[in-house]
């Protein structure tokens, strides 16, 4: 995500600074490469947030046994796959 941020910050800086920049970014985003980077970045961020939320719950002392830890991890992965598909459909 750290490297994806290069694209995100660049795209935001360009698009918010001038109408031409906005048009250029919009054009890139409608292209295949733009969509791949966008979906990839959003998917990685989704996984990171879901995992982070799981960690916040674990900080409060839950899901610390083998079984509960495993199950919550599988739920995160399942949710991540579903959400990535949803984002993919929305963006394409």
């Amino acid at each position: 995500m750290f490297f994806a941020l290069l694209f995100v910050i660049w795209a935001w800086a360009e698009s918010v600074s001038s109408p031409d920049g906005f048009a250029f970014v919009q054009e890139q985003m409608s292209g295949v490469i733009g969509k791949i980077i966008a979906i990839g970045t959003i998917s990685a961020l989704t996984y990171h947030i879901l995992g982070g939320l799981r960690h916040l719950v674990m900080d409060m002392g839950h899901w610390e046994e083998l079984e509960s830890g495993n199950n919550s991890a599988k739920i995160v992965i399942g949710l991540w796959i579903v959400l990535t598909i949803v984002v993919g459909v929305l963006l394409c």
Partner: protein
């Protein structure tokens, strides 16, 4: 053990809290942007530019960028101390990562300044 509270050095507890505090700010920003894109059928330059023109949004965006930098610094310290054991290499890698993380903030600040 005499605890030294006089130095400015961060400790593990502060890093633990910073990672989670910054995570909350960034997640709030993410959900706000998600709501913006879902509730705005067509995003035009005017709408996009006006979104970031209000003082509140500039502060929120800047807070998110600072949170990103701090989250990256601590997160990558954890990753690098696990996987890059050679101190020399780790120091160089950390330097570049932290430099890039700072430049995200700098770019954001100067763009926001100009809006």
């Amino acid at each position: 053990m005499l605890t030294n509270q006089a130095s400015f050095k961060r400790d593990g507890v502060q890093d633990f809290v910073t990672v989670r505090a910054t995570a909350i700010i960034m997640t709030a920003f993410t959900f706000y942007m998600l709501w913006f894109f879902l509730s705005t059928p067509t995003v035009t330059y005017e709408i996009w530019h006006d979104l970031f023109s209000s003082l509140a949004m500039k502060v929120f965006t800047f807070a998110a960028l600072l949170s990103i930098m701090m989250h990256i610094r601590i997160g990558f310290w954890q990753v690098l101390t696990d996987y890059v054991k050679a101190p020399g290499i780790r120091a160089v890698v950390q330097f570049f990562i932290n430099l890039v993380a700072f430049s995200y903030v700098a770019v954001g600040l100067f763009v926001l300044w100009g809006l």
